[in-house]
């Protein structure tokens, strides 16, 4: 079998990994030169770690999913590497932790590939995943272990470890949604709508799931004050529901429910209203709530077309520059060229992910690939849109780029699942 699957995706991957390593290492050296006018002392260890981690992931793919797509891993590695360069440039202490989390992420990547040999294995445990997903989602609310950071209760602390269970929840829920919707898609489809059953009650059955997802999203919004995750979960579910059924009414209903939820929370919750107010007019709140987004805009504006140069800007002025607003830091030092490169990297990931979905051999695999791709694509859009004031700023991480262990590990697992689906469909068609 392995012989049949052409080695070309892996060869492509190896070439792209070399490119990603070159770009990242070059950026790392330039950032150090820009900041201190000297070569980084630890460029050797840096090179070994980045080459080592990507090489390990690459070799694991050769063994565990040889026919899988060859673009996703190098693109993720590039995003991870650029993110690391900026984290190291902003905060030396976080850089070491991010390197460690990257290692954990790669380990989780390999473990996922090793454990999930066939995507359909996941389908069997759908209700387990549902339970785990909801559990992870609500975990921060549990007394004793839940932690509130920057006003949002989305952290859990167990012993010395803190993590954001929401990052994992989105993957687990994508798996659950995929298996659930595949099972029910006929039932929820429009062609199944009986001609005579036009009463509200009859329709309720079709709109039950979306209402449930809406309610759960509102719970996350209200109880955890996490606007970003709330939007992400609801968007994910509506997208998957529509892709599964093809019924446009679900999109309309999703939009309507979103509108109602937005209007309600705008009226009822100060933190939501504040986000919207700041989005519409940050200028009159320049030294208070508007400070963060204005610093992001000032940073990107100062960067202009080509940026100030690595290590030569002032991205430390942007609050949360290592995490949620890292995109603005990139915009300041690498300019429009850098931000568009990041945009293209995510667009490539989305494109590859959806191509995997189209080629997947079962409906479950198709829908799961759609869900996983939507998670990454939507999350990146939410935070980049927020940083550029296209959308209100919602606190989610930029996948692979932002500092954060939970986010990195979860995204590497997500990547492994996409590659697993890709491998299985490639083998099937081979």
């Amino acid at each position: 079998m392995i012989g049949i699957a052409p080695s070309s995706p892996r060869r492509t991957e190896l070439g792209l990994i070399v490119l990603a390593v070159l770009v990242t290492t070059g950026a790392y050296v330039l950032a150090s030169l820009g900041k201190t006018a000297s070569l980084p002392a630890n460029v050797g260890p840096f090179l070994i770690v980045i080459v080592g981690l990507l090489a390990v992931a690459h070799i694991a793919l050769r063994r565990l999913a040889p026919a899988a797509d060859g673009v996703l891993l190098p693109v993720a590695g590039l995003l991870n590497g650029i993110g690391y360069v900026f984290i190291a440039r902003l905060n030396k202490d976080l850089a070491g932790l991010q390197a460690m989390w990257t290692a954990v992420g790669v380990a989780a990547f390999i473990a996922t590939l090793a454990i999930v040999r066939r995507p359909r294995d996941l389908e069997r445990y759908r209700y387990t995943f549902a339970l785990i997903g909801v559990g992870l989602l609500l975990m921060p609310l549990a007394p004793g272990i839940g932690r509130t950071v920057n006003g949002a209760r989305l952290w859990v602390r167990v012993g010395p470890m803190t993590f954001q269970p929401g990052e994992l929840a989105k993957i687990v829920l994508a798996i659950f949604f995929a298996s659930y919707l595949v099972e029910k898609r006929a039932l929820l489809s429009r062609k199944n709508l009986p001609e005579g059953a036009r009463s509200m009650l009859a329709r309720a059955r079709y709109f039950g799931p979306i209402l449930l997802a809406w309610g759960a999203s509102l719970v996350v919004l209200v109880a955890e004050k996490d606007l970003g995750s709330s939007l992400l979960f609801f968007g994910l579910f509506v997208t998957m529901l529509w892709v599964a059924t093809g019924w446009v009414l679900y999109l309309a209903a999703g939009a309507g429910l979103f509108g109602v939820g937005a209007a309600m929370s705008f009226a009822a919750f100060a933190h939501v209203k504040e986000r919207i107010d700041v989005w519409i007019d940050p200028w009159s709140r320049q030294s208070t709530q508007g400070f963060q987004i204005l610093q992001a805009l000032f940073g990107m504006g100062t960067g202009g077309l080509a940026g100030t140069g690595l290590g030569l800007g002032d991205p430390q002025r942007i609050p949360a520059a290592e995490t949620d607003l890292i995109f603005a830091a990139i915009g300041e030092e690498l300019g429009l060229l850098g931000t568009v490169a990041i945009l293209v990297a995510f667009l490539t990931t989305v494109g590859v992910g959806l191509r995997i979905a189209v080629r997947a051999r079962s409906e479950f695999e198709q829908l799961l690939a759609v869900g996983l791709t939507t998670v990454i694509g939507l999350q990146a859009f939410l935070i980049i849109g927020g940083v550029t004031r296209l959308l209100p700023l919602t606190g989610v991480t930029l996948p692979f780029v932002s500092y954060g262990g939970s986010s990195l590990v979860a995204n590497y697992i997500l990547l492994a699942l996409l590659l697993r689906i890709s491998d299985s469909s490639a083998k099937a068609t081979a």
Partner: protein, 484 residues
């Protein structure tokens, strides 16, 4: 399902395109505005934290320098002479920007327009940055004498090299210490600024070139110039001896100070600063001639001056409503009514007479050198105006020598040196008057022209200018001629 996936791909593509457009808006269309937004302190901090050259006097005294600090702003700007050079160097403040030499030559001081410093490959990555050092035309020896002489009396001293326009001394009182404005604790900086703003004496105002005063009898030099240039017959006209001039269209009279009687031809009128004679001369000249002459000397224009925010214009009153022989014309001819001039402008009048009728552009920068000592810019003297002919200038010079030798400006006399001068007293309120003097020396080959004003001194009469302002100007001239 494939159809939906393709639509989803397009939808995500549209979302990312929207982000792409928004990024172009931020990083291209609005980039300049965002980068230079006053609330964006990035550019300001970087500029402020740059190395900055020194400002030194022509005789080598450093009056502004930067010393390294540990904080984000990296370097502290210091003014070793405190308030003495404030109207020249100005200040360099993170919160309040800059003024004076600090603002006019900031691109040189910070090295921003010194070009690339890549002389060796290692320079590409070195953080060594070039700076420019500004050498002033001001001479510390003269500046100190001027400040000491003026003391704690409100007023100003402007000394200028008539042949180049280079300022030799520029002092005013009250003044301010620029050091607190350059501090890094911006709350303390704001407090210091607010204290200066609240002070009714306006210490931050460089009154030598940004305040206008009635010039009194020093303006008679303009009236005399107008007669010599425009109606030469008036230069030889003998004016009747009067105690007071009966002003037309009014019951008021224009008296001589102290009720003394004076008259005669122009040199005699100037020597004793005869009000009745010059007022009548003004009426004889007419509005157009007097206004035209004042404008030729620079009234109504802002003199070019490299001390940001620059000089204000001196003023000849609005004559649009005047009659042909309006009383206001008579008063203006002796520097009263609404005539008002900066001390700088009055120094420029003396300088123009000293320089054979050519008025040179005033300036404080002599040359700028890079940190390796190479001259990168040297001030090239240029003329600003030519108010009078060389011949008229020589005639005025002779008359002004007479004023020092036997007139109201004897206080300006120096042994062995011919000094030319003219006093002025401009009544302000009640028995108080601004005491003025303008002059230059040596009269046959002038090296320094000077204007002094001491505000609101008790006592009227031209003796006031001679008594109070002349000793200051005399000491300044002496200091300038002694120390080369």
């Amino acid at each position: 399902m494939t159809r939906q996936i393709k639509i989803l791909a397009i939808a995500l593509m549209v979302l990312y395109s929207a982000v792409f457009l928004k990024l172009n808006q931020i990083q291209v269309v609005q980039a300049h505005d965002l980068a230079h937004d006053p609330r964006n302190s990035r550019v300001a901090t970087r500029d402020f934290a740059r190395p900055r050259g020194v400002i030194q006097t022509a005789d080598g005294i450093v009056v502004a320098q930067s010393t390294p600090t540990d904080d984000q702003l990296k370097r502290l700007r210091q003014y070793p002479a405190g308030p003495l050079y404030a109207p020249v160097t100005g200040y360099f403040s993170f919160t309040f920007g800059a003024a004076g030499i600090e603002r006019d030559y900031t691109d040189y001081l910070s090295g921003r327009n010194l070009g690339s410093s890549v002389k060796h490959l290692s320079d590409v990555f070195s953080d060594k940055e070039r700076t420019g050092n500004v050498t002033l035309t001001i001479r510390d020896a003269v500046q100190r004498v001027a400040a000491q002489q003026l003391g704690n009396r409100r007023g100003a001293v402007v000394a200028i090299d008539p042949t180049t326009g280079g300022l030799i001394a520029l002092v005013n009182f009250p003044t301010f210490d620029p050091n607190p404005l350059a501090g890094h604790d911006q709350k303390a900086v704001r407090d210091a600024w607010n204290a200066l703003e609240a002070d009714p004496a306006k210490p931050r105002l460089p009154r030598a070139y940004r305040e206008i005063y009635a010039p009194g009898s020093t303006f008679k030099l303009v009236t005399a110039s107008a007669a010599l240039e425009r109606k030469p017959e008036l230069a030889t006209k003998s004016y009747p001896f009067l105690r007071q001039l009966d002003l037309p269209h009014t019951n008021n009279d224009l008296p001589n100070f102290g009720g003394s009687s004076c008259g005669g031809v122009m040199p005699q009128l100037l020597k004793v600063s005869c009000n009745t004679g010059f007022a009548q001369m003004g009426l004889d000249l007419g509005t157009d001639a007097l206004l035209g002459e004042a404008e030729d000397y620079g009234f109504g224009s802002r003199p070019p001056l490299d001390l940001a925010p620059g000089s204000v214009a001196s003023r000849f009153p609005d004559s649009s409503g005047w009659l042909r022989d309006d009383p206001a014309l008579a008063q203006s001819a002796i520097g009263q009514n609404d005539v008002a001039a900066t001390p700088l402008q009055m120094a420029l009048i003396a300088a123009a007479i000293a320089n054979h009728g050519v008025l040179m552009k005033p300036h404080a920068m002599g040359e700028i050198r890079d940190d390796e000592g190479d001259v990168i810019r040297r001030y090239l003297p240029t003329s600003w105006r030519k108010p009078i002919t060389a011949d008229v200038a020589d005639q005025l010079t002779q008359m002004m020598i007479g004023v020092v030798q036997g007139g109201t400006a004897t206080g300006l006399a120096l042994p062995g040196i011919k000094v030319a001068g003219k006093t002025g007293t401009a009544q302000t309120t009640g028995k108080n008057a601004h005491a003025w003097i303008v002059g230059f020396a040596p009269a046959d080959a002038p090296k320094i022209a000077v204007a002094v004003i001491v505000e609101s001194q008790p006592g009227l009469g031209d003796v006031t200018g001679g008594r109070i302002a002349a000793p200051i100007a005399r000491a300044v001239i002496q200091a300038a001629l002694n120390a080369p």
